[in-house]
């Protein structure tokens, strides 16, 4: 064997080892998430339950506070953010794409830059004051509006790519056919960017689903807390987590997102770019 072949095998081996380490760091938490909930005495190790049981889920089910958080509050906040972000982003990016706004690109980039600040930790105090003045502290609306504001610029950025990919002649043909601008949007543009709307909607939903900081600052009553905060009810007063119940709750927490993703992927195919398939 010459040295070239040896070197090539060595390189492959190293690459393989490196890939395994990377993969393991991603896969292990997922393995834990699907094994621990079925283990009556879960710890941080990944162990295949010798005696799988659903007892953990039963215990979680009896935690009314946590269940309401997951199946009511999270759905309201996630759904609200999803509808608002998808709706507003679609219309805004259509407007930005189809009319001549001076400095349009700069505007979008600046908005994206600031959005990470606006919904971020740094702006929590002014956001709190603003929401307080609006009388929206401890309301779903307050949380939904602030999160929507934070997500919109990126959503508009994603949507614009989809909208820019529709040939102008499609809309012009509809205009000449006698349609009003609103009708053109509804009959032609909207059906053609539907994959984009879905992508943005799911992305917004997932973002809102896992949000912790904004609801924890803007909400007061336990009745309205989302699941990310409610998961603290599986901690003891001393602050140690009850891993057995927490894992079961986390398992339930991930299911809606997974199901949503699978449905969308099956129905539309998930993609982050535009393009018309005729």
């Amino acid at each position: 064997m010459n040295s070239f072949v040896i070197r090539s095998w060595l390189a492959r081996g190293l690459l393989f080892a490196f890939s395994v380490v990377i993969a393991a760091s991603f896969v292990t938490p997922l393995l834990w998430l699907i094994t621990a909930p079925f283990n009556t005495q879960a710890n941080l190790a990944v162990t295949i339950p010798t005696n799988p049981s659903l007892a953990n889920f039963e215990a979680v089910y009896h935690n009314k506070f946590a269940m309401r958080a997951l199946f009511q509050n999270n759905l309201i906040i996630g759904g609200g953010v999803m509808v608002l972000v998808a709706g507003v982003a679609t219309m805004a990016s259509y407007g930005l794409s189809r009319t001549h706004v001076p400095g349009r690109d700069v505007l979008v980039y600046v908005l994206i830059l600031f959005s990470s600040v606006v919904s971020g930790t740094a702006a929590m105090v002014p956001i709190f004051l603003l929401v307080f003045r609006l009388g929206l502290i401890d309301t779903y609306a307050g949380v939904i509006l602030v999160m929507t504001g934070g997500l919109l610029p990126s959503a508009i950025f994603i949507m614009r790519d989809f909208i820019d990919s529709i040939p102008r002649s499609y809309e012009e043909a509809a205009l000449v056919c006698g349609a009003s601008s609103l009708r053109v949007f509804r009959d032609v543009a909207l059906p053609m960017v539907r994959p984009g709307v879905v992508v943005v909607a799911i992305w917004a939903f997932v973002n809102a689903w896992g949000a912790f900081l904004i609801p924890s600052v803007l909400l007061r009553s336990p009745d309205r807390m989302p699941a990310s905060i409610a998961s603290y009810s599986f901690y003891t007063e001393a602050g140690t987590p009850n891993l057995t119940l927490l894992s079961a709750y986390a398992f339930l927490y991930t299911i809606p997102v997974l199901v949503l993703y699978l449905i969308v992927n099956w129905r539309f195919g998930f993609r982050f770019f535009g393009g018309i398939k005729s």
């Binding site: 002649s169 205009l175 000449v176």
Partner: protein, 362 residues
């Protein structure tokens, strides 16, 4: 009665004047082709009629109604786009029926009218397909059907055949001309293909740099180009243009000042008083109006044979005249046996002189 009238229409895009002071009238039921190289303003002119662009100056009338400021939907025109613009999310039936749907025609009547038009255009069996499932030629017909179905005041075509292959294009050309004759609807047709314009139109509008260069019937434009631009754009190969100076007293034309001069006294006689001695003019002669001969004569242009191309029904001879390539067309199938040095006799009855600005002297 649908006339389309342009009165001194100007359209600018930033610093570019796309349509520059265009005045023209398209008569009722007339088929007018807008012809020119890309960027000449022909498509913008069409879009001004459709209302997809608004004129900066001037007036546009459709059927005696001033539509200059009206949006597309208030103009009642039908347009066929280069890419057909059929909606991928609708079936062919829904696509063709869309203008009717927008106008609030009920589903029952809509389906009937679409079926009727589709039958006429031989796409009746494709109605439940989607645009992606039919061929380019069929898509083209479907987009024409969408224009025909709602009986608009006029048809606008934006290079509708340029996405078809050569064979299909000839077929579609005949089909469009036949359809337009049958329906008798005022039609404006944009193309950069002069053969298409010649074949289809009642009149051709030739444009360049946003200006109208000539308006006329196809043969009129072909026979008597109003300027050197039209002369070099219409015809394949186009008109031969030879620049030179004139010696009015002796009736001679000198190519690049070369001796001996060519006797053009017959042409000069026709332009009596329009020419000055020593003036630079451009002589325009169609390839079929040059006759090759092997002996010099006073009215003949000396030339060297460059290439002989038999084309089937005709022979195209390319020769070199004073360093420039000139085309000669002979209507015979057998290529002639010519020596290298030949002389070309122009038919002065159908030859024209253009001044230094390229405008026809007459």
């Amino acid at each position: 009665m649908t006339q389309i009238i342009f009165e001194h229409v100007v359209k600018r895009f930033g610093s570019v004047t796309a349509v520059n002071d265009v005045t023209l009238t398209v008569g009722d039921g007339e088929f007018v082709a807008l012809l020119g190289p890309s960027g000449c303003g022909k498509t913008t002119t069409l879009r001004l009629i459709a209302g997809l662009e608004f004129a900066d100056e001037g007036r546009i009338l459709i059927g005696e109604r001033d539509v200059t400021r009206l949006p597309p939907r208030a103009r009642d025109v039908a347009m066929v786009f280069q890419d057909y613009a059929l909606y991928p999310h609708m079936t062919i039936l829904e696509n063709i029926g869309y203008p009717l749907k927008v106008r609030g025609v009920g589903k029952q009547e809509r389906t009937e009218r679409v079926a009727e038009v589709a039958q006429q255009l031989q796409i009746g069996d494709l109605l439940d397909r989607r645009p992606g499932q039919i061929s380019g030629g069929q898509q083209q017909r479907a987009s024409v059907a969408r224009a025909v179905v709602h009986q608009a005041l006029c048809f606008l075509f934006d290079e509708p055949l340029s996405n078809l292959d050569a064979q299909l294009r000839l077929e579609a050309r005949a089909f469009l001309k036949h359809l337009q004759h049958e329906l008798g609807v005022t039609t404006v047709y944009v193309t950069h293909d002069q053969a298409e314009a010649m074949a289809l139109a009642d009149r051709i509008v030739i444009m360049n740099y946003g200006r109208v260069m000539q308006i006329g019937a196809p043969l009129e434009v072909y026979r008597r180009p109003a300027n050197t631009f039209v002369a070099s754009f219409i015809g394949s190969p186009p008109m031969n243009l030879l620049a030179g100076t004139i010696d009015l007293a002796r009736g001679l034309f000198r190519l690049n000042g070369q001796e001996p001069g060519i006797d053009l006294s017959a042409l000069f006689g026709r332009l009596n008083g329009k020419l000055t001695d020593g003036q630079t003019i451009t002589l325009g002669v169609r390839p079929e109006h040059l006759t090759p001969q092997v002996e010099p004569s006073p009215g003949a242009i000396p030339a060297q044979v460059y290439a002989v191309q038999p084309m089937g029904g005709e022979v195209l001879i390319v020769v070199r005249v004073a360093g420039k390539l000139v085309s000669v067309r002979l209507f015979r199938d057998e290529p002639p046996d010519l020596p290298h040095e030949i002389w070309l006799v122009p038919d002065l009855n159908v030859s024209y002189a253009y001044d230094a600005d390229g405008n026809l002297l007459q």
